[in-house]
Symmetry: C3
């Protein structure tokens, strides 16, 4: 529990499973995520561009992790802003098609990628700012929660929250821990049980997002906030961040395989598969 003089973060090591193809440094992948690095400021922007709704597919997550790792290892980069190029959507969360009608091996691989994304993002040594320019349910909300600071467009049509319960599934304990660390136990307990999605102004009222801005000011505000955080000496800020987040990160690391097995057996249940199929049908009809 001691932070003094420790490395801020135990490096996660190369992406798992080993052998995953790493693109050469700085040749940023840009299939589902566009990465721009401004070397003068040391600030990168990761723009989600995976139509129609930036859902977190296995491909998206893999690209996310590779991009983040490259930035993490790039001395020219000290902070990352996350935003979307898809109108009205930041990210719709975990891709349900990855959890439906697939093999247990696939479920395991997918869940490991979700874990990896969170471990790298919540534990990042860089300053991370979410510029939430659209709705952000479930896994999309998790990405925002895992950043150091959350700015959201003030449009009440954009909502954010961990709404897993509405789909008949359960947010895993590390989603919950991240949520509790942000909004406290009571709000988390109530919101998770109800699967609540909050319009931006309400989310701001209880601290799920830190700040609201008009859409046209979002980029500018994200850059200003980033500059404020980067004004601090990296080493002290990183050690402090690690001190705040280590307990929760360590908990998943210690239970990672168990968490994967639990996910597989839960998601493989016919009752859950049926719920997810019904939910996907509903989404299709909405279009």
């Amino acid at each position: 529990p001691l932070a003094w003089g420790r490395a801020a973060r135990q490096p996660l090591g190369p992406l798992e499973p080993p052998g995953l193809p790493l693109a050469p440094c700085r040749a940023f992948s840009n299939n589902k995520i566009l990465v721009e690095l401004d070397e003068s400021s040391g600030v990168a922007t990761m723009k989600f561009k995976s139509p129609p709704v930036n859902s977190l597919s296995l491909d998206f997550l893999t690209e996310f992790c590779i991009s983040l790792e490259k930035l993490e290892n790039d001395r020219a980069c000290r902070g990352v802003i996350f935003t979307s190029v898809i109108p009205k959507i930041f990210s719709s969360g975990l891709d349900i098609t990855e959890m439906c009608g697939k093999s247990t091996e696939h479920y395991g691989e997918f869940w490991r990628a979700v874990q990896e994304m969170w471990l790298r993002l919540y534990g990042s040594n860089m300053v991370t700012v979410a510029a939430v320019n659209g709705s952000s349910p479930a896994g999309g909300c998790l990405i925002a929660l895992s950043c150091d600071y959350r700015i959201m467009v003030e449009n009440p049509k954009f909502s954010i929250g961990l709404n897993e319960a509405q789909l008949g599934i359960v947010a895993p304990f590390w989603f919950k821990d991240t949520f509790v660390n942000t909004v406290g136990h009571r709000v988390a307990e109530r919101s998770l049980q109800l699967g609540s999605l909050y319009p931006a102004p309400e989310a701001h009222r209880f601290g799920l997002v830190d700040e609201l801005v008009p859409e046209e000011k979002l980029q500018e505000k994200a850059v200003a906030v980033m500059a404020q955080w980067l004004a601090l000496p990296d080493h002290a800020r990183q050690l402090t961040k690690s001190m705040m987040r280590k307990a929760v990160l360590d908990r998943l690391v210690a239970h990672r395989e168990e968490d994967i097995q639990n996910f597989i057996s839960f998601i493989s249940k016919e009752s859950i598969q049926k719920s997810l199929r019904m939910y996907m049908e509903m989404l299709k009809k909405k279009k």
Copy 2:
């Protein structure tokens, strides 16, 4: 700590001590608590009717646990609303006469019943809503805190809080844990040390109760809130609730006998007995 695919709650087993007389199913006891089950909605109401002040005597607690267990095991019941038929009082908390001038065996039996009440209520798989229609100090406040949602009549003459310190006694750690989970560490620390009772509007301001309503709207609001919570799939909601409350429940389960022994030796002290006698004298004079 993993919620995926687990049973939401380890069943507590039959009421302890074993051999406690269980009324036959659905023959609801109604000596101190009136239980009504609306089978169409799946919502039961437990109405406290133990004059003069719904104090939590051993008999009341036993009846509470039996009633709750029957509802828990009744597939027709998915949620419970708790309220009082005594004007101006929800519940006055633990019955001081049970803690004064009795044998150590009696203190032990009483404390086990208090624990049992909390374990069953805080860990209930059903949706639990407190419709607080009067003052609710100490153990009365604990009942409200242990529900999923708290609605209180907006009358500032009705107060609520864990005021044990005012009587010279100490709220046990699991009262404290429940309180911290609801209002956070700082408010709990200050309130428990001062034994603060808060008028309904103030209690609402810092989240000790979730909502205030005029007295004539209380029942209607409780039913509406219940419907909102019951709209979620039971299984996902129950797993989520368990994930949020398990750590605190497990802590009492692990230290249950020790907690009973601590209570017995504390309450048996002559200085504490004297405090309680003085407090009872004061209450008598108030009348």
Copy 3:
């Protein structure tokens, strides 16, 4: 974890290192701290008077611990108010000269004294009220955070916060734990990373201080708050306080030597020494 019937606090034993010269009882030291005890009310006041800025030097800390221990053991004393006689400054925090250009032995001795101060203050059986009548960064803020109640002069020119990160150093885990217990995880995470100092009105808004008053009302208000806390039975209040703070106190006790070693190796780094020298240069130029 059980509070019933336990001693409120394991006594820390005589001040360490053993052999430290204890002034005879009631002959209050008054070199850097003026101690006044009003025997009629049972309330002492500790007035910091160490120009220019009440920095927490080894001498100040030693005197602080001795004075507090004497009051703790004085049956005539039930509460302590902490305030400053230096205009505009409550305390500027740890004395940087103690951390700069000294031997590792000195660093170790200094850090042990900082720990001792916090262990005695956060774990005090007495009621402790901070009457913050000036700015209170870093260690000064820790003193306020460790009290039971914080009243601050409403002057927005007075600021308070744990701003260690701004100096390139890291608040240790027990500063962090104390902060989280007061303002919650999210505010602590953000404030510690940014090294934020908050003007009094802002600090009040999120609960870093409990109450704001005009400067001329500060003493009167502190006395009134103290009277309110002393109205409770000591024993129940002490057991309750211990229950709330024990986990965090125990954590430092369990890791005390490790924490000292971590401090020594961190502060001995040339990069940290350079940061501190630059900071001191900047302070000198400000004058």
